[in-house]
């Protein structure tokens, strides 16, 4: 005779750390993390605009913060997060049309967005550096 449903060992839903990371899963997590980071980063650009309203000294002070090693790292990281989130978003818009959902295709697109975001970030800052001769 079977036990009652209340006492029988119920199947437990496997949690996140059980899974082997796949490219699509990794990109999904990164999409949410980059989105969360971009959320708070909008304040940085708004403050930069506000600094441009103020005096030259105020603007130079804020520009100095952004131009510091830490500031440059944050801006470089922010631009990667932005590009990555945008490419991931385009991937989602393609999926919305019902295309590219096959296992191998979605895997390929996921890897492409990661490589593409890193490459584009380097190309953009490389071009900016070449044009301006340093940040």
């Amino acid at each position: 005779m079977s036990k009652s449903t209340a006492t029988r060992a119920r199947p437990i839903s496997p949690h996140l750390q059980i899974y082997r990371f796949t490219p699509t899963m990794t990109m999904s997590i990164l999409h949410r993390i980059t989105g969360g980071a971009l959320y708070f980063g909008t304040l940085l650009f708004a403050l930069w605009l506000l600094a441009a309203v103020g005096s030259r000294e105020q603007f130079d002070f804020v520009n100095g913060l952004f131009g510091s090693i830490l500031g440059r790292l944050v801006i470089f990281g922010y631009s990667w997060a932005l590009i990555h989130h945008m490419l991931g978003g385009i991937r989602h818009l393609i999926w919305d049309t019902g295309h590219g959902l096959e296992k191998q295709t979605s895997r390929t697109i996921a890897i492409t967005t990661l490589i593409g975001s890193i490459a584009l970030t380097i190309v953009i800052w490389g071009a900016a550096w070449a044009i301006r001769g340093g940040l």
């Binding site: 971009l38 708004a46 605009l49 441009a52 603007f59 932005l82 978003g89 953009i124 940040l135």
Partner: protein, 127 residues
């Protein structure tokens, strides 16, 4: 079993949460508008990041620049509010915290938008 929904309910298609697909649709709508605006924004920052006070103010005073950056903020702020709402709903289950964070999630984009638009208008109108 017979469908308990009224014909009016069915044709409205709003479901039990009364929101229908509005959240999903606006997320996609702003995602699409974000793409060209963000491409412009990245280009602007790449060119004017680290530029002098005069250069930045002159650039921001141009109508097209001010308008595009203004739209970029509006589109991005709306989009990110929708996204953060989903994150809060996914991870914060305690009712009090959830409501508090949902409220803050509405305030934050408005504050950022107010700072950005005020600054853009001041510079554009030569203040």
């Amino acid at each position: 079993m017979a469908d308990m929904r009224t014909p009016l309910n069915k044709v409205r298609g709003l479901g039990s949460a009364r929101g229908g697909t509005e959240h999903f649709w606006r997320q996609r709508l702003t995602a699409v508008s974000n793409i060209p605006l963000i491409i412009f924004f990245i280009g602007f920052v790449a060119v004017y990041g680290g530029a002098s006070y005069e250069e930045v103010r002159t650039a921001l005073a141009q109508p097209m620049v001010a308008i595009l950056i203004g739209f970029a903020f509006l589109s991005v702020l709306y989009h990110m509010r929708l996204g953060m709402q989903v994150i809060i709903e996914d991870y914060v289950h305690e009712e009090g915290w959830k409501i508090a964070l949902i409220i803050l999630n509405t305030f934050f984009p408005i504050v950022v938008g107010a700072i950005a638009l005020y600054s853009l208008l001041r510079i554009a109108f030569g203040g």
